[in-house]
């Protein structure tokens, strides 16, 4: 069975500092990986996705993530965060293609950006 581990439940950082949110997955098949962001009292919004090809994926709001197959990781990074980046971030893996596919989420990382 596939699973996703987000290694940090909370990450506090100062504004304009770089940040990395860590995500590891376990899978015995090809993986499709995602990062979602949830702002307070809102639904989930897709930040970026890895399906195939280049291992460095760029997303919205200046975020990027790197797929590392040997380390089974898909860490999310941003070189300089803003107060508005304060949110919950979820890493997810799709377990199979087609209509049977489902997203398996990690437990989330709360990013708190302080002035």
């Amino acid at each position: 069975a596939q699973s996703v581990t987000q290694l940090d439940s909370q990450v506090p950082v100062f504004e304009e500092a770089p940040v990395e949110l860590r995500c590891n997955y376990s899978s015995s098949v090809s993986v499709y990986l995602f990062w979602y962001v949830q702002y307070p009292n809102q639904g989930l919004q897709l930040l970026l996705k890895y399906l195939s090809g280049s291992t460095l994926v760029k997303g919205i709001n200046g975020f990027e993530a790197e797929f590392n197959k040997s380390q089974t990781s898909f860490h999310l990074r941003k070189p300089s965060v803003h107060i508005s980046d304060t949110a919950e971030y979820f890493c997810a893996v799709s377990d199979r293609p087609g209509s049977q596919g489902n997203l398996i989420f990690g437990k989330g990382t709360k990013l708190s950006v302080k002035p």
């Binding site: 499709y32 995602f34 979602y36 949830q38 009292n41 809102q42 639904g43 989930l44 919004q45 897709l46 996705k49 399906l51 919950e88 979820f90 799709s94 293609p97 087609g98 209509s99 049977q100 596919g101 489902n102 997203l103 398996i104 989420f105 437990k107 989330g108 709360k110």
Partner: protein
């Protein structure tokens, strides 16, 4: 233009009542989902439908019954509500033939007292 919408946004009710949450998507997707997010923010799949057919039915009490009248709608009916049902319920949709990402609604916060 809201892509995935849910009603109501907030729902406060007493134990033992029956309630429904509605979801509609205007993205032309063929697959829709219900997720439950608990107080610790953990997201868990409950159901998924593809072209009105039930595809995924995780270990969810029988008190929860999804209904998909058409591809654009997926409703969730809950009987005999319990305190433990308090959570945020998210609807999502996807185009199964072309992509893997899911698009989420704004959520329905259910509080059972």
């Amino acid at each position: 233009d809201t892509a995935v919408s849910q009603t109501p946004k907030y729902l406060v009710t007493q134990m033992g009542n029956d309630k429904s949450i509605k979801c509609e998507q205007n993205l032309g997707h063929d697959t829709m989902y219900w997720y439950k997010q608990d107080s610790k923010k953990f997201l868990k799949i409950m159901f998924s439908y593809n072209n009105k057919e039930l595809i995924i039915n995780e270990t969810v009490p029988n008190r929860f019954s999804p209904k998909s009248p058409d591809k654009a709608h997926l409703n969730l009916h809950i009987n005999s509500l319990e305190l433990g049902d308090s959570a945020v319920y998210f609807c999502a949709s996807r185009n199964s033939g072309h992509s893997y990402e899911q698009y989420f609604g704004p959520g329905t916060r259910l509080t059972v007292t």
